[in-house]
Symmetry: C2
Subunit: 254 residues, 2 copies
Amino acid sequence: MGEATAGDGGEVVTAAVLVIGDEILSGRTKDRNIGYIAEYLTALGIDLREARIVPDVVSEIAAAVNALRGRYTYVFTTGGIGPTHDDITADGIAEAFGVPVHHDPRAVEILKAYLGDRLNEARLRMARMPVGSELIENTVSKAPGWRIGNVYVMAGIPSVMHAMLDAIAPTLRTGTVIESRTVEGRGIKEGDVGGPLGDIQAAFPQVMIGSYPHFDGNQFTTSLVLRSRDTAALDAAEAQVRALVERLLAEVRP
Amino acid sequence: MGEATAGDGGEVVTAAVLVIGDEILSGRTKDRNIGYIAEYLTALGIDLREARIVPDVVSEIAAAVNALRGRYTYVFTTGGIGPTHDDITADGIAEAFGVPVHHDPRAVEILKAYLGDRLNEARLRMARMPVGSELIENTVSKAPGWRIGNVYVMAGIPSVMHAMLDAIAPTLRTGTVIESRTVEGRGIKEGDVGGPLGDIQAAFPQVMIGSYPHFDGNQFTTSLVLRSRDTAALDAAEAQVRALVERLLAEVRP
């Protein structure tokens, strides 16, 4: 959508997602968390600006966290906070912040109360986090996530991550929600709409106009998506895009 | 999988994926390309080490390409090479390499031959690429991808990306394929396997051992995945993991 800006002066709150896990990079597990968080943040008026997937390597996690946390309002991580040796997210994030890792006493209490006799050394790993972290409630399986600075550390298992995000959401600063309108250009090819659509984009810099082609095996559809925090500009741009689609369809019809 | 190394001295070829597109970051479109490329490269013996998703902003694309291309053997990008104004991948990658963008004459010929009268100014955008690029064949919809240096630029539409990856694959340097073994710990919880599994990992640094829990609503399963380029070490580690799972199951059974 070019380098159009979204602004009408409303507050812009930004975020990045950091997915941690060799299993995603090997292709064994397909990430579903980025898309979920993206939709969730968009609904809150928070702009997801970047996502990264890094392996289970402490220095890689630390470098990515430091690259992202200075740049965006919030960083959300998923993965690597379980009870096994390959769960090293705590170490990576502690390295990024230059603080030690400890067994958080509040987290230990939660695990004790929930697990009783089953709280062995491996499960105690789930209480490990950088000194200075605050807990994030896990209503699904109790072992908490945590926040340090503007970095929110969540589980990789989708159902647990969803619960943690629900716990975090009320505490987040949110921006003006970006409104979105979609004009479905059924039977219209991207190459036919492209020229005049670029002219409309140029006329409405405060609206982000995207073009997304599909082919269902029978017919081309080009979805034209307009997004803005400025409703009046969005209305005007949408009217022009609808008129353009009508004009193109009239040309296509015999 | 900790910071275990995968090596038995076999050649290690590395890669990064860069997904370009506001529609992925807004959550409107769910990325399926990273997982596909990850599996594809793993099968070729190429280690995917990192993935990033960036918006349709020239400077962001350029910065990510420059961060990745010096670090990994190959960089594969998807998205942003279509005919509309929001397709600016060519500009971002040209900026990264410090070269101008032109209409590649070979690409123009391909588009002319395929599109005839339909080759308008918007569709001509699909021939735009940095000077010095080589074409990547597109058997699906003709408009080619391109390579400059170690950066391979592919379409975002999955079917077209798949065809381009098939065209690229025979030209890639590949490494020793990482063998993978999975021991399914049905009825076993991660917290029970974690301690002894960490000991096995410590004993086999040349094997990457990962632990992936699932809950099907009825039973916990912990998949234990061993990966290595060293078959003998993999055999030995797998035997120990299988014995561990048997021992734990014997404890669970009444």
